[in-house]
Structures are given as C-alpha cells and as structure tokens.
C-alpha cells in the first residue's frame, strides 16, 4: 500500500533547464517524509506536481493505487479530484471567508460529519470562540493551524506541506511544530513536508529526502542522514563543518586530529575529510571520553565565544613539521571558555568524521 509514489519524474518550466530531474520516492500512509534542501532546488515544484497544479512532463505519479499523472500519455488528473491536501507556504487562506468557512471550503453537503469535525478541531486548537472572524485578525501561528485543518478537512489521502513553519519566531515555531505533529499522527495521513531547515526535518520526519539541484541525493531516517551522509553536500547540510584534505595511505587518511579509516578507498586517492564542530571533544567538555580516545591531540585556543546553550571555539593545530597551522571550529555544550592562547587536549568522535574522495 502506498500513499504517494513518484517514479522518474522530470519537470521544467517553459524552456528553462529542468528543475526536477528524475525524482523517485514514495510516502506510505501514516508516514511523515521531509523534503530537505536549499532554496530553489525544486521542492515546491515537486509538491505542485504531486498536487496536480503542474502537469507532469515525464515520469509517473500515483496516489493510493491510482495513477494521477503519466508523462508519456499526457494523462493528468486535475487537482480537484486527486484527494490531496496542500498547505502553502503563505497559507493562502481566503481573506473573504471566515475561519470556519475556510476550513469547510472543500466540503460538500454530502459529508456533513466533517462540518462537526471542523468545529471540534477548531475548538481543540483554541479557536472555538473565533470561528466567525476573518483570517487577517489571527496571528501567524493561528493562521498556520487553520490552513492545516483546511487541508485536512476533506480527509485527503496525501497531505503536502510547503515550509509550514517558515516566518515564525523560534519559540512559536517549536510549539506549532509539536501541535502539527500531534494532529498529523492522529490522522495517519501520508505526509510530504518541505523544509530547508535540517533541524526541523530531524524533528518531524520519519524519513528525510535530501534534495539538491532537482535531484534526491539521499533518502533515509534522520539518524542515517546525520551520521551517514552520502556526500559532502549532505554532510555540510547540518551547519558549518570543518574540511581538511589528505591522501589515502594504508586504507586510512592521516590528519593532525588523528587517522581515519577509509576501507572503501584505494591507496593514493585524494580525500576530503569533514569533521563536525560538535564532533570535537575535550577535557572540559563534561562528556565521558570515548574508550579509544588515546592520548588526544594538542591544540592552541585562538578564540572562545559563548553562544548561549553552547560555546564556540576556534582551535589551531600544528599541521606538519614545517609549522603550517590548520584552523578548526569546535562546538561544546555549555559554557567552556578557555583563555585565548592556552593549550588544550582534543579528541575527535569518529562518528562525526566523514571522508569522501575528491
């Protein structure tokens, strides 16, 4: 059983080069899949294709057991009969309709029970007393939830959310995220959610599809995506990352922060080594050191700054016999602010190190 299925989908706007290039994936009922990628990589286009707002040019799109779009034959089921719910980035609430009218816009007289559901749901999200007001009187968070209910009212088989939390401040975002997740898990709808915020994707998703330049370059659980990035792009997706270079010798690359095994790479291969700032551990970091930490490596503190919940350190390592130094950024939980110029001992968590061929 599938909720939404895309098979080798390609899409271009007018005569421009394609913005969706050979994308295949599926979303099962009850599953929440996040489409994660930088702005302009084709995420919204993919949602519009799924909803039927764009006509598929190549490839196949199915919802449930029905083909809703097939590029080869030009078959295109229009959005109004697809049974998808789509929530736009700007919510697109109808300004001339009340909250209740907005939520019940897609209902026909035949599904009277859903009118009751609409009222109930509005009450549950704390808007029971304001069902007759117009959208512009609501706060951003409230508008977001009204838009979500509107998309869910028609009991779609597939729910598509385009950056549902953009434009909210951090605190509100966290609250609304929780509520949205609760509502979605209750309905058990197959959900495809677009975001460019990796933390949000990690928080919400059962699976993450990482998109770059119109392609899905990695698909997996949040853990897989974070700990086993398929390429430098995914590795760098979760924030600034340290990059070193080296050459593979004896199935490993040597760096000033230790040797990292590269069983899959041939000797002599030029390699790029990525180390997450949070992968550096040190004496004062308050965490138990890994068993195989060994002696650790000596680094000079260039600067140390407080970021709030964590501290940001710039460290300098003597790279080689000629005295060239390399610069490494580290992020340590809590307040840890050694004096500039002081020397500390550092270990690296190998789970946070990724080596790719150049």
């Amino acid at each position: 059983m599938i909720g939404l299925h895309m098979d080798h989908v390609i899409h271009a706007y007018e005569d421009d080069p394609p913005v969706v290039r050979d994308v295949s994936f599926d979303v099962k009922p009850g599953e929440l899949v996040c489409l994660l990628g930088p702005s302009g990589c084709g995420k919204t286009t993919l949602l519009r294709l799924a909803a039927g707002l764009e006509i598929v040019q190549q490839g196949q799109i199915s919802i449930g057991d029905k083909t809703v779009g097939l590029g080869e034959t030009g078959h295109h089921m229009p959005p109004e009969v697809r049974g998808v719910g789509l929530m736009f980035q700007d919510y697109a609430l109808f300004p001339h309709l009340t909250i209740l009218e907005n939520v019940t816009f897609g209902l026909t007289d035949s599904n009277g029970a859903r009118y009751a559901w609409a009222r109930d749901s509005l009450s549950r999200i704390g808007l029971g007393g304001t069902i007759n007001v117009y959208p512009h009187t609501l706060s951003g968070g409230q508008q977001q939830r009204v838009a979500l209910l509107r998309a869910l009212a028609t009991e779609p088989r597939v729910l598509l959310l385009d950056e549902p939390f953009s434009g909210m401040d951090v605190t509100l975002r966290a609250n609304v995220r929780e509520q949205t997740l609760t509502i979605l898990k209750e309905t058990g709808v197959a959900t495809l959610m677009v975001t460019h915020d990796p933390e949000e994707a990690m928080f919400m998703a059962d699976r993450i599809l990482v998109m770059q330049g119109g392609r899905i370059i990695q698909a997996g659980t949040p853990q897989e995506t974070y700990f086993h990035p398929a390429n430098p792009f995914v590795a760098a997706l979760f924030g600034p990352i340290n990059e070193l270079s080296g050459t593979v010798q004896d199935k490993a690359v040597k760096t000033p922060l230790g040797d990292f095994e590269t069983p899959a790479m041939a000797d002599g291969t030029e390699a790029r080594i990525f180390i997450r700032p949070e992968g550096l551990k040190m004496e004062y970091s308050g965490e138990p050191l890994p068993d195989d930490a060994g002696e650790g490596y000596t680094a000079r503190v260039v600067s140390a700054r407080m970021l709030g919940r964590s501290s940001h350190l710039r460290l300098s390592f003597a790279a080689d016999a000629y005295g060239t130094e390399i610069d490494i950024q580290a992020r340590i939980p809590g307040a840890f602010l050694p004096a500039s110029g002081s020397t500390i001992t550092v270990w690296v968590d190998p789970n946070q190190v990724f080596v790719f061929p150049v």
Partner: protein, 572 residues
C-alpha cells in the same frame, strides 16, 4: 507496467478536464479576436486603400491636417506637462494651505468633457459673451476694432481647453511616481549638497520620467480622439478632417485614408507608452518607504503654491460647472422639453450595457489569461485592448466596415434564398454603438480586472483546486468576491467614459437617435448652450464618479497605508 489498468481508471476524468480548460482558453481567444476586429479592420484599410484619393488629399488638406494636429499636440502636451507635474510636485513635496484638498480637487476637471468646456468658454469669451461685454462697458469701447481680445475659437483656444481637462492624467501619474520615489533618494541628493529645487530637477523629475511619459501619451491619445472641440472651433485636425471628408464630402474611402494616417500618430504614441512602461520597472530604486517630509512653504511662496493649484481647479472645473449650473437653473425647462429624459435614458442604457459587457468580457479574458498564460494569449489580449488608443472616429470606421459587410452578406443570402431583403441589421444600430464602446473601453475593464486578479496570489487558486473546486467554481467563490470593488470600479469607469463619448456615437448611432453627448453637441453647435446645459451638467455629474473613486485611492495610498492591508483584508 503494473499500473497500466489503474491509469485507465484515472483517465475517465481526464477528457472532462481538457474540455473545461479549453472553454476558458477558446473563450478568451474568441473574445480577444472579436474585440480586435475593428482595430484590424482599420489596419487592413490602412494598407489597402480602395479608390485612391491620396494625391488629391496630399495636394489639398493633408499638410494642413498634419501641421494643425502636431501643433495642437505640442500645445496640449506642453500645457498638461507643466500643470500636471508642477501641481503634483507641490502637493506631494510641499506643505501649504489647502494641500490636502488639492490632492483630489486637482482631479475634478477630468469630469468635464473637452467639448463641454469648449462650449462654456466660448460662451464666456466670445464677442457677445459677458467678459468682452463687461470690458466694453468698462472702457467705453463700442466696436471690436477698438481693442484686442484673444480669439477663443482657434488652435490656441482648443489647446487651452484640452489642457484644462486633460492635465489630470499627467498629474495622477506623476504624483504616484513622486510618492513612490520615497523620500530617501531625495534626501541623499540633499545631503550631497543640492537644494530642494535642484533636487527636484536632478532627481525627482528624471526618476518620474516614465510615469510622466505615460501620462502624456494618454493625454495625446485623448487629444487625437477629440472631435467635439475641434469641430466647434473649426480647427482642422485629423479627427475633424475625417468627419469633414466623410459626412460633408460623403467620401468614405477618403475618410478611411485619413484615418490610416492618424493611426501612424497613434502607433508612435503606443510605442512611446510601451517603452515608458518597460522603463518604469527599472526606476524603483529603493524598497525603503519613508513618509514624505514636506517642505513647509511660507509667505509669498505659500500663496503662490495655493494659487498655482487653485487655478487649474478653478478654470478647469469650478467656472464651467458654475456657468452650466447657472444656465441649468434658468433653462432647465427648455432641456426637458427637448426630450431630455429620453436622451438621458439612452445614455444611461447604452453606457450601462457597454459597461456590463466590457466588464464581463474583461473579466473573462483576464481569468482566461490567468488560467493558461503563455505569450500568444497574452499578446492577443493586449492587442484586443488597443482600442483605447485608437481615436473614436477611426474606431467607428473600424466598426462600420465589418458590420456593413455582415449586413450585406446576410442581405444577399436572404435575397438569394428567400427572395426577401433583410436590409441593414447592424449598421447604424444601437448594437454598433455598443460594440464601439466596448472595443474602445475594453482596456479599462480588462486592465482593472487583470491588475485586480494579479493581486490575488496564485496559491489561492491552488488551495481551492486541491480542495476540490474547478476553475469556474473558483472564479465564483474566490475571485469574484475578492474583486468586488474592482469590478465596480471598472464598471463605473467604462460607464462614465461611454457617457462622455462623442465621435463614435455621432457616427455609429441610429438615425435620429440622441444621447446626452450628441444632444449637447448639436445644441451647443447651434449656439444653444443654455438650452442644453442641464444635459451637459448631467454628463459632468456622472464624470464626478471616477474622480471620487480616484480620490479614494489617493487617500488610501498615502505612504505606509493600505499597501499590505489590501492583501489580507476582504474587499470592503
């Protein structure tokens, strides 16, 4: 492929969708083509002259028409530029008594058709008029040779009359441009050592140039369109020439050839306007919006500014309105007797019908374009709304040619088949007048509807589509409610334009059929202004409606107001 059978399931809905989509596109294409017929007819006519009287025209009237028309355009262009930009700059940048009032009052002259103001001032300023009579009484002159007084019924007089009622176009557009500039660029200029006046000439004016050019092209299109004034003043412009050659010399081909020369003028203006509109996009230099500070004017400067703004309102609206009002009080009985009610009914009925059609077609085309954009459809709709640029006299010929052809074809068919003659069905009918109005003013409704639709985010359509509504349902349930006020605006604008329209009505109307405009024209031409003043006043009263609409927009679009509210608020 395992999905082959299920794919077939899905296709059952596919044809219905295709057909529905085609209805919109086909409808839009059809409407655009229909609306383009008169313009195309004139263009075809322009390149295929029937019996050639070129050499005759060129030898006799043509040079005169060209020179007179160019002179008139120069005069009106200069006048409207000076008054329009000058007053616009004063009310946007300076503070002086009455500024708030003048912001909208400067639009009032728009309410008065050029021919009406011409009748009024002729009445005031001619030899037998109150002004010259007063002067003679004052100085004891008895005959005309004893003093000099400007002749109102002249080329210069016509230019003055048109300047007085057309300058609001330039005022509106340049005012909007000055407002949009944001004060930041002007302040930069001042911090760089320029005084306010220098800043105006070095920064504000050049930045507003595209808007001013658009305003001026509109003014010049109106100038070319005018028939009533030049006819009354016996100024030999193209429009007057077309009428002369056609009605007095009974030479349709000659009129058509004059029309084709006039079209060259129009094409140049359209080109200018298009270029200016393209240029406008690049003139938004900053997104920072700061309230204009307003240089407070004191003493003689403030008196000067107030006078400069009062004069156009006084001479362009208050004086003519007062004269007409005064006459109407004394002579309304004469107007009523001349069947005022019937003319009014004709005017209102025709204008309302045309407004309804124009708004319906305009909305349909704008929505069709939104549903399925594309360069072809876009070009077609643009072309269909070119009517606004084509002078009424030319467009009227463009309506007559196809309707006459249709009438003749039907007549021939009827005679061949049934042995009876159907005669002229469309030519010289209310239908022809209505078509003329709709074609000429479609741009107003289409433009308004397109702009209004453009303000509704496409996501609104997307949301409604995924919620199970088709294109027609979305238009009814989402767009039309959101566009209510724009629809009303478009309807009123077209309605009033039709009320004022003279040249097309004169040519296309059925025999002995009068509207307020043709009645006023006929009476005033016979020196019976007083007897038709009530009718003229009725036209002016209708003309006030757009002024009210525009002034509301003006007060709502002050910096920092309205802009974002409009997007989230339901239409009032």
């Amino acid at each position: 492929m395992s999905n082959a059978t299920t794919a077939l399931n899905g296709t059952s809905r596919f044809p219905a969708f295709r057909i529905r989509l085609n209805v919109w596109t086909a409808g839009t294409v059809l409407a655009a083509l229909m609306m383009a017929i008169p313009t195309i007819a004139v263009l075809i006519m322009a390149v295929t002259p029937a019996d050639n009287i070129w050499s005759h025209l060129a030898a006799t009237v043509l040079p005169d028409y060209i020179i007179t028309t160019l002179l008139l355009m120069t005069g009106v262009g200069t006048g409207t530029f000076l008054i329009g930009t000058g007053t616009a700059w004063l009310v946007t940048m300076c503070r002086f008594p009455g500024r708030r009032l003048f912001e909208w009052a400067l639009l009032l002259p728009m309410a008065i058709p050029a021919y009406v103001i011409a009748y009024v001032y002729t009445d005031l300023l001619e030899y037998a008029g109150p002004i010259q009579e007063g002067l003679r009484a004052l100085f004891g002159w008895t005959v005309k040779s004893q003093y000099w007084f400007p002749e109102i019924r002249s080329l210069g007089g016509a230019a003055c009359m048109m300047t007085l009622v057309f300058y609001p176009y330039v005022y509106l557009l340049s005012r909007a441009a000055f407002l949009e500039q944001s004060v930041c660029v002007l302040e930069v200029s001042r911090t760089l050592g320029r005084n306010p006046w220098k800043s105006f000439f070095l920064v504000a004016l050049p930045l507003a140039r595209p808007a001013i050019v658009i305003g001026l092209t509109l003014v010049l299109m109106e100038t070319l369109n005018d028939f009533g004034t030049v006819d009354y003043f016996a100024v030999a412009t193209f429009s007057a020439g077309i009428f002369d050659v056609w009605l007095n010399m009974n030479n349709v081909a000659g009129a058509a050839q004059l029309a084709s020369v006039l079209l060259i003028f129009v094409l140049v203006l359209i080109g200018l306007e298009r270029r200016a509109r393209r240029g406008q996009r690049f003139h938004h230099t900053t997104t920072k919006y700061r309230a204009l500070p307003g240089y407070p004017l004191r003493g003689k400067w403030s008196v000067l500014a107030t006078t400069a703004c009062l004069a156009p309102v006084l001479f362009g609206f208050l004086v003519p309105a007062a004269v007409l009002g005064n006459y109407a009080l004394g002579h309304y009985a004469a107007t009523l007797e001349a069947d005022y009610l019937a003319f009014t009914l004709n005017s209102f009925g025709l204008s309302a019908l045309a407004a309804l059609l124009a708004v319906a077609i305009g909305t349909f085309m704008a929505y069709g374009l939104r549903l399925k954009g594309g360069a072809v459809l876009k070009t077609m709709t643009r072309f269909a709304s070119l009517g606004y640029a084509v002078p009424g006299a030319v467009l009227a010929i463009g309506v007559i040619i196809p309707t006459a052809w249709l009438d003749n074809s039907v007549d021939a068919f009827m005679r061949d088949t049934f042995g009876i003659s159907s005669g002229l069905l469309l030519s010289g009918s209310i239908f022809a007048v209505t078509i003329g109005y709709v074609v000429r003013f479609l741009a107003v409704s289409f433009g308004t509807m397109e702009a209004s639709l453009g303000k509704i985010t496409p996501n609104m359509d997307g949301a409604a589509r995924t919620l199970g509504k088709g294109p027609a349902a979305i238009l009814l349930k989402v767009h039309l409610p959101l566009m209510r006020s724009s629809i009303l605006t478009a309807g009123i604008l077209v309605f009033v334009d039709c009320m004022k329209e003279l040249p097309m009505t004169v040519i296309l109307r059925p025999f002995n059929f009068h509207t307020l405009a043709t009645f006023v024209h006929e009476y005033a031409s016979d020196e019976l202004l007083a007897e038709s003043s009530l009718a003229a006043l009725t036209i002016v009263a209708a003309g006030i409606l757009p002024v009210i609409l525009l002034s509301r927009t003006i007060t709502h679009s002050r910096p920092g107001q309205g802009r974002n509210v409009a997007r989230t608020r339901p239409a009032p």
